[in-house]
Symmetry: C2
Subunit: 598 residues, 2 copies
């Protein structure tokens, strides 16, 4: 037996016990005649003590030969510590060791295994097995494991059944790029890895499973960013005989349960906002509502999609005159910003990632007077109307962007988030969930000259908008709204879903809108269209990004910290060195060849 106790459980009441423990050597302190080794495992740290006065010479020599990260098995007696510490739960005791076995030696790790490690990203990815020893990373994975348990507990309690859907499915050109898997038994053909179990969960509804969920790996072959991974995990759910309200209620319940059980945080009822309103007030379909700085339209086109139709800008300034929209927000307490700071912010919004042409500001001085970069184009009275409209107070600053309505909102959204961060208003431990509802059904793709489904091709248009499907007018089609919703938390989309189409005819019409020929629709989704002919119930669902949920609940930015073995931005697993070449025999068996390198 390697241990009678783990390294986290012994207390003063255990004094006198004969124990055996196993673990890793942490800090080692050698005071000549006295030697202490911190023995560490998943459960905690227990101090081993060796004393020349009573420790056998040969045992003492073994102890002295121990290095950091050696794997040890120690037996001895639990004794009260001379100098207790309350930094660790076992701080009142130590083990007077009578037997010590080195189970495995260890080389010196290439970086320190501490919360504040000196290892860079690449090094830690390569030696992920050492990085995973760090308390910080372990804590994240325990959090994740626990969150999955609580998710299952809640959903099982609500009558959901977990069904495993296949990973080797069919490639469909709609949506993101598929990872494909060549078939050996069916040469020239390929499976695809699922981007989501979407059609399968709908099939399960047609089959009468009523409430389905699955915590499931999904795959997208997209170029990677910090918060994207080629494989990621979803909490995937679907329900039958439901309206949007039923889904929102159920999954608001799940979210509240997760916060309560994992963080002991009680969330109030989640506010809701339409997509249009979110775009108007925050320029984003996933607004961070931990802080204000809402958008105020100074000028926006009448009848535009998101604008309020405001007109508070008299003509005379060419930039404003030529702009579709002029939109402001008030940054509280920023009137003290120096010329240099404003210039730096101006450069920031002009970077290609944001793409604004410039940044206009209005400082509200302590005496209520204003100072603005457009002072020479507008009277103080006009500028005062803007200040009033934005509810700005002395000491505040207005930031204003102009241009085409939708683009300006997106640019201003980035600036708002940046200012929120700079002002410390985006606290990791402040949680502000929000349902964004009534998403557009369709999204026009300028490059391909056709509509794409904003959510996915199975999303139901709102009942009132169904007649619009027959229209030829792009504006009319673009105005259609869907029974689609996102759950947004602190500016991050953590879940999204929709009520689905369950009528074959409506689904066919939707495919047509998306540019599918009847043959393409049949070829790719024939089974679903077929299923709809045999008694499909009304149904809808949602999927949560599980990695992202873990990250946001911990106030972390990157999902990588919550994935045991993440890939880097080139899609590589640095530890195992994958992907890699495979041998020609494998290619032959699969009936494929490598294309000559360009």
């Amino acid at each position: 037996m390697y241990r009678t106790h783990n390294c986290g459980e012994l207390r003063l009441t255990d004094t006198g016990k004969q124990v055996t423990m196993s673990g890793w050597a942490g800090t080692i302190r050698d005071k000549g005649g006295l030697l202490w080794i911190d023995l560490r495992d998943r459960y905690g740290i227990t101090q081993l003590v060796f004393d020349e006065n009573y420790t056998d010479k040969s045992l003492f020599d073994v102890a002295r030969s121990v290095g950091r990260e050696y794997v040890l098995q120690a037996s001895g007696t639990v004794i009260e510590r001379a100098s207790k510490t309350n930094k660790i739960p076992t701080g009142d005791i130590e083990i007077k060791v009578t037997e010590l076995k080195i189970l495995n030696a260890a080389k010196t790790p290439p970086f320190t295994i501490q919360d504040d490690t000196d290892g860079g990203d690449e090094l830690r990815m390569k030696y992920r097995y050492l990085d995973l020893r760090r308390n910080e990373v372990q804590k994240n994975l325990f959090f994740r494991s626990n969150l999955a348990i609580e998710t299952r507990k809640y959903l099982a309690g609500e009558g959901f059944i977990e069904v495993e859907t296949p990973n080797l499915i069919k490639s469909t050109p709609e949506g993101a790029r598929d990872f494909v898997v060549p078939s050996r038994m069916n040469k020239g053909q390929f499976y695809a890895l699922p981007q989501s179990p979407q059609t399968f969960k709908q099939i399960l509804m047609v089959s009468g499973f009523d409430k389905y969920f699955q915590i499931v790996k999904c795959f997208r072959d997209e170029d990677l960013r910090a918060d994207r991974q080629p494989e990621f995990t979803q909490i995937d759910c679907e329900m039958s005989f439901v309206h949007q309200e039923d889904i929102l209620r159920t999954f608001e319940g799940l979210t509240k349960h997760l916060f309560k059980s994992a963080l002991d945080i009680t969330l109030g009822d989640f506010p809701r906002m339409t997509y249009d309103e979110a775009m108007r007030r925050y320029g984003s379909d996933k607004p961070d509502i931990r802080f204000g700085m809402e958008f105020i339209d100074l000028k926006s086109p009448k009848g535009s999609e998101f604008g309020s139709g405001a007109d508070d800008v008299p003509p005379g300034f060419a930039v404003f005159d030529g702009a579709e929209s002029v939109i402001a927000f008030c940054a509280p307490g920023c009137a003290e910003y120096s010329r240099k700071q404003i210039d730096e912010l101006t450069e920031w919004v002009k970077r290609p990632q944001i793409g604004a042409k410039g940044l206009i500001y209005v400082k509200i001085e302590a005496d209520g007077s204003t100072k603005s970069s457009v002072d020479k184009f507008f009277t103080p009275e006009v500028i005062k109307t803007w200040v009033d409209k934005c509810g700005a107070k002395p000491g505040d600053m207005l930031f204003i962007l102009t241009g085409e309505d939708e683009r300006t909102r997106k640019q201003l959204c980035e600036l708002r988030l940046e200012m929120g961060s700079r002002l410390g208003l985006r606290k990791g431990d402040d949680f502000k969930p929000l349902w964004v509802v009534d998403f557009p059904l369709l999204e026009w793709d300028e490059d391909e000259g056709r509509f794409f489904a904003m959510h996915h091709p199975f999303t139901s248009p709102k009942a009132l908008d169904i007649p619009k499907m027959e229209s030829d007018d792009r504006i009319t089609l673009k105005s259609m709204r869907a029974d689609a919703y996102d759950l947004v938390l602190n500016g991050v989309e953590i879940g999204g879903g929709s009520i689905r189409i369950h009528d074959r005819d409506l689904q066919s019409r939707n495919f047509k809108l998306l540019g599918f020929s009847p043959e393409e629709a049949e070829n790719q989704f024939g089974f679903l269209l077929g299923a709809f002919e045999y008694g499909a119930p009304p149904h809808g669902g949602i999927a949560f990004g599980f990695d992202r949920l873990c990250a946001v609940m911990n106030g972390a930015n990157s999902i990588r910290d919550f994935i045991a073995f993440p890939k880097n931005n080139q899609g590589r697993d640095m530890m195992i060195d994958a992907p890699s070449g495979i041998n020609p025999k494998q290619l032959d068996e699969l009936g494929i060849r490598l294309a000559p390198q360009a």
Copy 2:
């Protein structure tokens, strides 16, 4: 709201309530002025009633237009039934319908949606969404979902953490054939789908996670049989600081818990048997011990791997003289078998799948005399010694096979199982678990002229056998035993595992035994060898075939019945029609081409 109640919950005490329910039309009975529709959902069946005497004409017409599998929403009053039935829990009531909405129509299904369906395998696979509506299939998937919940409950209670390991990993030629995934970002390179998370779970032990589990999809590109699927699910587990005994105790506990919670069956302690003993007594490393008919060696070579060294066969019969082994078992009550039945059995063992040259029998008549196919070669006294040795009684029959020892055992094993089935001794509701331990470390592959790991290359030899690794002698190497174990249930291997090597040097020597050059070992498993240098703890684990466990616990033969969307023997998903061709643009992006068809 689509429903106030589901179709399984209303009782007599609900009489008088106004309710709304949704579901599928099952049996419809039309008696002219009276019409009943069984409304079905996952939760049960509730009878709707329409009566010309009080049902509105237009409502009655709607009701009459309903066909099987239509999706309905019905509102009405709960009333006591005139003719109650105790066949369903809602049999005391029915719904006097006041409002009926057809939510979706349905074509006539291509097969009946009943326990005893008239649909063949292929048809049901193609219309899996209808097959999944059958009570039988739903029951299986609910069983599976529940078994996963209970697995997680037990393991979490034992301190295991569930960690998701990656699905896009590295291809290794060892073991079964990998499915591979071409990488777009790293052209010419491939990921592999995991055959198991083996190396990752070992890495997690090196990282100090101590107890890991995962219910996880695994992938093997092998030719398929009834109980094989290209993707399957494992309960994958690993523990640190353990000996074999710790693993066996923990997972015997899990198995007992699953039987108790899912089937309310209390299993006693599991017997154990060495691999050698299992081969000697049953000719199999996964013996079905629900019934006896153990092997009795009449002749077997001294010092052979499995034989007892028996010598109860005097010379004189060429077939026996030339055979390495002569092995019998007693089939109780089979003395009445006719000549025709024996001939048929003889043909059965001579089929290529079994490959025996012939079948020898000894009938023990009611008076104790014997009648045998080898009567002319042996005296009744000699034959009597066989009968006695086998413990056969009047009315029994001995079956005897001869030939090379190991092959004869395997052939006789098949016959034993067949006889067990024919005699009704392999009951689906009789559960006899068994640990088979001390598996050989290595398996000689005649074709490739080298050793393969019987379990996998990370399995630890037994401590006493480690010195044998230095041997050049094939027999010595073959005699090495490993700390490897299988959990066998009713003749099916439901779990298998081993204590792993945790020493870099030992692992390198094992790779060498398996024919890896140091470069190959480094290239394929360098990360693991590296990890072993930084303090790897002793560790071991096990993996359960989850699909198979579900099947065996239900006395079912095929794992397909417990998989929501299985593939057929050609690896095809008949419903979605995958795999399929992909477009040339996708191939281009991936840098691969199809090889010309041969």
